[in-house]
């Protein structure tokens, strides 16, 4: 849920990066953090296990500029991707304004992608939200690896409604900013339409 503060003249929104384990959600945030000017970002927080798997969430606050005298701030979160961390994923989705679904393009992760997409829908329904009503961008990550499915096949499985989608290699930064820019814009457009 967005937070509009007239006192500090800020519009704050929450974007959640969702997807199966090891698909590259944290890598997306890390790349954004590394490449963003210091004045536009806050501290990145990673609540991770000793083996650097996300345990609860990663968090990165970003400022994307002013609209009509209001600063636009986006709080980027990732969820833990591993199946058994479902309770934590539900908590992170609370108050979400927009979602990036990061899919792993590798052939062997077809089932994991589908399972994670179903899990996202179920967890939103539990909060009275419908994925179809939320700004959603799909990212087909790891395009640099050799054993990837075609984008057409990934689209058929994960994006039958033709939502905005991007090919990415988050480790190299390809597609990362395009994804972020698109979801942030969709969130603001949705907030405007809600009024």
């Amino acid at each position: 849920m967005s937070f509009i503060n007239y006192s500090s003249r800020e519009i704050n929104c929450k974007i959640v990066y969702y997807g199966p384990g090891l698909c590259g959600k944290t890598t997306n945030l890390q790349f954004i953090y590394d490449r963003t000017r210091p004045e536009s970002k806050g501290k990145m927080i990673s609540l991770a296990t000793e083996t650097e798997r996300t345990l609860f969430f990663d968090f990165l606050p970003l400022s994307l500029g002013d609209i009509r005298g209001f600063k636009t701030r986006f709080h980027l979160y990732t969820v833990p991707g591993q199946v058994f961390y479902d309770a934590s994923r539900k908590l992170i989705l609370k108050g979400v304004d927009g979602i990036v679904f990061v899919a792993d393009s590798q052939e062997e992760r077809v089932d994991a992608n589908l399972e994670s997409m179903d899990n996202l829908k179920e967890n939103l329904v539990e909060q009275g939200l419908n994925l179809a009503d939320l700004p959603l961008v799909i990212q087909y990550n790891k395009r640099d690896l050799p054993n990837v499915l075609s984008v057409e096949q990934l689209r058929r499985d994960l994006n039958p409604n033709g939502l905005p989608d991007f090919e990415a290699s988050a480790a190299q930064g390809e597609g990362v900013f395009e994804t972020l820019r698109t979801v942030a814009k969709l969130v603001l457009v949705q907030l405007k339409q809600a009024k």
Partner: protein, 164 residues
């Protein structure tokens, strides 16, 4: 959540009062989604954005723990350190009041003052809720045009935020 200047002034006043009367290090109001609403006290050396996100995550996890054992909620959390402590409580049906304190005060005094302050915060947030739901409620988005949003995401402008 929408926060108007008048209610923000009232909340800041109450937070400053709590800070002074309790002799704490710092006090914060944070919404349940991790957004900082207001702060008071020695806040210069504390990253309030990180603090807000972590406190909201902690409250969310604690709320789920409560439900697991059949409790409605744990309305108070205390993190006890060697020299500094954090008292976290839910006020106004879901806003988070955070008090950071040290040896200059006592847990008993913090609890007492937080309880009293909670009643005053409740009144402000009830008024705010009524105001937001009123048909006269304003939103910055009523003035923002599609072109404004487009211009924020122009290549030149957005690229300035990121290093080469």
């Amino acid at each position: 959540m929408i926060m108007y200047e008048e209610e923000h002034r009232q909340i800041s006043f109450l937070l400053n009062k709590l800070y002074r009367e309790t002799n704490t290090r710092a006090c914060y109001i944070v919404d349940k989604n991790g957004q900082l609403v207001a702060e008071a006290g020695e806040v210069e050396n504390i990253d309030s954005t990180s603090l807000s996100s972590l406190v909201a995550g902690s409250i969310a996890a604690t709320g789920s723990l409560a439900k697991l054992i059949g409790e409605k909620e744990f309305s108070i959390m205390l993190h006890e350190g060697k020299d500094q402590h954090i008292h976290v409580s839910l006020v106004a049906g879901g806003v988070i009041l955070v008090v950071i304190f040290d040896g200059r005060t006592s847990l008993g005094l913090v609890r007492l003052r937080v309880k009293k302050a909670s009643e005053e915060f409740n009144k402000v947030f009830i008024n705010l809720s009524k105001k937001v739901q009123s048909p006269k409620a304003k939103s910055p988005f009523s003035e923002i045009t599609d072109d404004d949003i487009d211009s924020l995401f122009r290549d030149d402008d957005i690229d300035k935020l990121f290093r080469e």
